[in-house]
């Protein structure tokens, strides 16, 4: 991993279109500003981890016929 030391208001570039600026430093929290083209996706790592965890639960859940039937009924009831 590349490690760079930056001070407040200093920045670095990723490629020639993405700039990361150190906006604020308070205690153990750093605020970063990100300048990037609109079509670049930027997410906190926790978002990926949470979706991953939810997928593992959803992808391996036990879907027996009774559960599915109950769901089907629930949904019909829900659609008015």
């Amino acid at each position: 991993m590349l490690v760079l030391a930056r001070r407040l208001n200093q920045s670095f570039m990723i490629g020639d279109q993405i700039e990361i600026v150190v906006v604020d430093i308070r205690g153990d929290q750093v605020k970063l500003g990100i300048k990037a083209p609109r079509d670049v996706s930027i997410f906190r790592k926790e978002v990926y981890e949470e979706i991953q965890k939810e997928n593992v639960t959803a992808g391996k859940q036990d879907l027996d016929q009774k559960t599915l039937q109950n769901l089907g009924n629930l949904f019909k009831k829900d659609q008015k």
Binding site: D39, Q52, N55, L63, F75
Partner: protein, 145 residues
């Protein structure tokens, strides 16, 4: 072709039903081929079944069934990965997680499944909108309306 699925038992499918998820689904990066199967006993539910692992399948609902207003904020760059210019050209599905009690059943609005039906490509996208949670309890949230 046939696959022995955990949910529906032995299922026939055609080659043209196969959807390719080049990046896989988060948590299951090595699995790239899926088919969308319709269950016999319900109208809206479908099963996104992995062809690489018979034990892996996702219960999915079309997004507009979960919430007609829902429109995931997916970047153009991500949509391009499955050959789409605009989200409206794709089929948007939400992965459903079952928990005890119907009020605890949730839909993943933050990580929707987007499918390009004509090119047979699919992906799990990320919606860049704080109003789209990983767990949207749609029975609970619709109750008050």
């Amino acid at each position: 072709m046939q696959i022995e699925t955990k949910v529906f038992g032995l299922v026939d499918y055609e080659e043209q039903q196969i959807l390719e998820f080049k990046d896989g689904i988060l948590g299951f990066p090595g699995f790239h081929k899926y088919v969308l199967l319709q269950g016999p006993q319900f109208d809206h539910w479908e099963l996104l079944q992995s062809l690489d692992d018979p034990d892996l399948s996702f219960l999915v609902l079309k997004a507009d069934v979960v919430d007609p207003e829902y429109k995931p904020a997916v970047s153009k760059e991500d949509l391009k990965k499955i050959g789409l210019e605009h989200i409206d050209q794709g089929i948007v599905l939400t992965i459903i997680t079952i928990r005890e009690g119907h009020e605890n059943i949730s839909a993943n609005l933050q990580g929707p499944i987007i499918i390009n039906a004509s090119q047979k490509l699919g992906m799990q996208a990320l919606s860049n909108n704080d109003a789209h949670p990983v767990r949207f309890y749609f029975f609970r949230d619709q109750g008050g309306q």
